[in-house]
């Protein structure tokens, strides 16, 4: 009751004091809102138009990338292109060894990074309480994600190739790519783990499960699709990177099948780079470079598509 009275008094004072000057007090019943509806509508239309133009521009760039790569490389893309070795100083033939090399490097990177990244993510999400150290680690990992890839390449050269003496090899390249994709795998896994509702953890613990049982049997299975999405996106990243394998794994040309982790290999992205910069027969080799780029593009799009598919499916199941 007292509250209501105070409010009334305030209103009273306002009317006596506040409006005693030049401005006329508002007529009772008049709307305090501006009437000019036109401005609002025009701003709305202009806003939509601007946003729409931005979308068009983006689509234009995307479309032209795809167009130019198809135009340049579509001609050479045959089954033989994928399955044959390069011939005649790489002016003819296919890209089979480069495809194979990229496959080995990517596989190796995932084998190196997945267990490590997943373990880090589990530790950070499930075992450490939110505190200063945790935030510091998070910031560190995010910064790792921002390091330019050529720096990883130099690091790989110094540590894996030289210090550990693995030489220029699949092993060195895989480990370097592994470190490159590690932050991505950690943060994707962390997101997937955080998305698991706490109520499930509580339900499990309340039954007398240990934290480890809870993680292994309840949290991880639930987070798996999210983790898998992150891993697949990382595969795409690892397959497409050039700089990290430049000094650590990639060969300009090799006649040998990679028969051990210590073999050097050809790889798709480096193959493109090599043909365009160091080729001896630019006319024929440019087409092959475009063809390789096309294959790489399709490969990465296919991999990302798979990730999107898994994510959508999971959403519809949980939905």
């Amino acid at each position: 009751m007292r509250l209501a009275k105070t409010a009334l008094n305030d209103g009273h004072d306002l009317f006596n004091g506040g409006y005693s000057g030049r401005a006329a007090p508002p007529r009772p019943g008049a709307s305090p809102f501006s009437k000019a509806g036109w401005n609002k509508q025009a701003a709305q239309k202009a806003g939509f138009f601007l946003l729409f133009m931005c979308i068009l521009l983006t689509l234009f760039f995307l479309g032209s990338i795809v167009y130019f790569i198809f135009a340049g490389g579509g001609k050479v893309l045959t089954w033989g292109f994928l399955t044959q070795w390069p011939r005649n100083a790489m002016t003819e033939g296919g890209i089979f060894p480069a495809l194979l090399g990229t496959f080995y490097l990517t596989l190796g990177a995932i084998i190196a990074a997945l267990p490590l990244g997943l373990a880090c993510a589990i530790y950070l999400c499930e075992y450490t309480p939110g505190n200063f150290a945790l935030n510091a680690i998070r910031i560190g990992i995010n910064n790792l994600a921002g390091v330019p890839s050529v720096v990883f390449g130099l690091f790989g050269l110094a540590v894996f190739v030289k210090f550990f003496g693995f030489g220029v090899s699949v092993l060195s390249g895989s480990l370097t790519l592994g470190i490159l994709i590690l932050p991505g795998i950690i943060s994707a896994s962390q997101e997937a783990l955080i998305a698991v509702p706490n109520s499930l953890r509580e339900a499990s613990l309340a039954l007398g499960a240990t934290q480890w049982q809870t993680i292994r049997k309840i949290v991880l299975p639930q987070a798996l699709p999210g983790i898998l999405t992150g891993v697949i996106l990382s595969v795409g990243r690892a397959a497409g990177e050039t700089a990290p394998i430049l000094f650590t794994a990639a060969a300009f040309y090799t006649r040998k099948y990679p028969d051990s982790p210590f073999s050097e290999v050809m790889a798709l992205p480096y193959h493109i780079y090599a043909l365009m910069t160091e080729g001896t027969h630019p006319r024929q080799q440019t087409a092959i470079a475009y063809g390789s780029a096309l294959v790489l593009l399709i490969l990465v799009l296919f991999i990302s598509g798979t990730a999107v598919f898994i994510r959508q499916r999971q959403r519809s199941i949980n939905g």
Binding site: P129, G130, N131, P197, S199, L200, R201, E202, A203, S204, L205, A206, L207, G208, A209, T210, Q213, K217, I218, Q222, N318
Partner: protein, 253 residues
């Protein structure tokens, strides 16, 4: 412990960071009895019940003073096995939280993590606990369907079955009917009346009628203090504290 007391809180203070959530709470929970805890939102009743099976261990920067005894033993003592405490003191949560697995696997999980491997014994336990939770007749034909397809009330009874399967001695219910419709609520209440013969039950509830219907003892919490504790009948008919009276007559909360 003597006089049929199963759990006891002795001088319990609990802090979230520096904010006190419970102030000097003393409470006896009697064997084979329903003890209900009532009070307005934020009064500390959920905090209190989550201390009874150490679920608050999971809250970072929280701190407990005082003791909580289960059969005379301090459950927060360093030599106590928290996993064993949680098996002995089961919990049913406010929102039904079945695992995204089949009905059968939901119950099997609790048995397996506690070391039961024998398949026929597991099967027997699953059926038993579903019957005890009054869910068997509704699900017996679809044990291998996802538990998420059950209705909210059925899910909550599944959670109760899951809890019963690991043979707890005390069962904590943290507002078990808060997200259920009246019919499901009355089924859960009937179930509570059944279960109190074999188990010691503590229930946190917003619903005073529910407390009056199901419990033998009632504690009233306000702003982190336990204001009054006694036989439910006495609390609701002749409360000693004026704040209790104000709350049960609906003057605040």
């Amino acid at each position: 412990m003597d006089n049929g007391i199963r759990m006891r809180a002795e001088g319990v203070n609990f802090y979230y960071g520096s904010r006190p959530a419970l102030k000097d709470v003393n409470l006896d929970i009697q064997r084979s009895q329903v003890t209900s805890i009532i009070g307005p939102s934020g009064c500390g009743k959920s905090t209190f019940i989550r201390l009874l099976n150490r679920m608050n261990d999971l809250v970072p920067k929280s701190r407990l003073e005082g003791k909580i005894l289960l059969d005379g033993e301090d459950i927060h003592a360093p030599e106590t096995d928290v996993v064993e405490i949680r098996r002995r003191v089961g919990m049913v949560f406010q929102k039904p939280n079945p695992f995204p697995k089949s009905i059968y696997e939901n119950i099997k999980y609790g048995l397996e993590i506690n070391g039961l491997r024998d398949k026929s014994l597991i099967e027997q336990r699953v059926v038993e606990s579903l019957k005890k939770a009054a869910l068997w007749d509704e699900v017996k034909g679809r044990l291998y369907e996802s538990a998420l397809r059950l209705s909210g009330g059925q899910q909550q009874r599944l959670c109760i079955a899951r809890c019963l399967a690991v043979e707890p001695e005390v069962i904590l219910f943290d507002e078990p009917c808060a997200s259920l419709d009246p019919i499901s609520t009355s089924r859960i209440e009937e179930l509570l009346m059944e279960l109190k013969r074999d188990y010691t039950i503590v229930i946190v509830t917003h619903n005073m009628q529910q407390a009056a219907r199901v419990s033998g003892n009632t504690a009233f919490f306000l702003l982190g203090e336990m204001v009054e504790f006694g036989r439910t009948q006495d609390i609701f008919t002749k409360p000693r504290d004026s704040r209790t009276e104000a709350y049960i007559t609906g003057r605040f909360g």
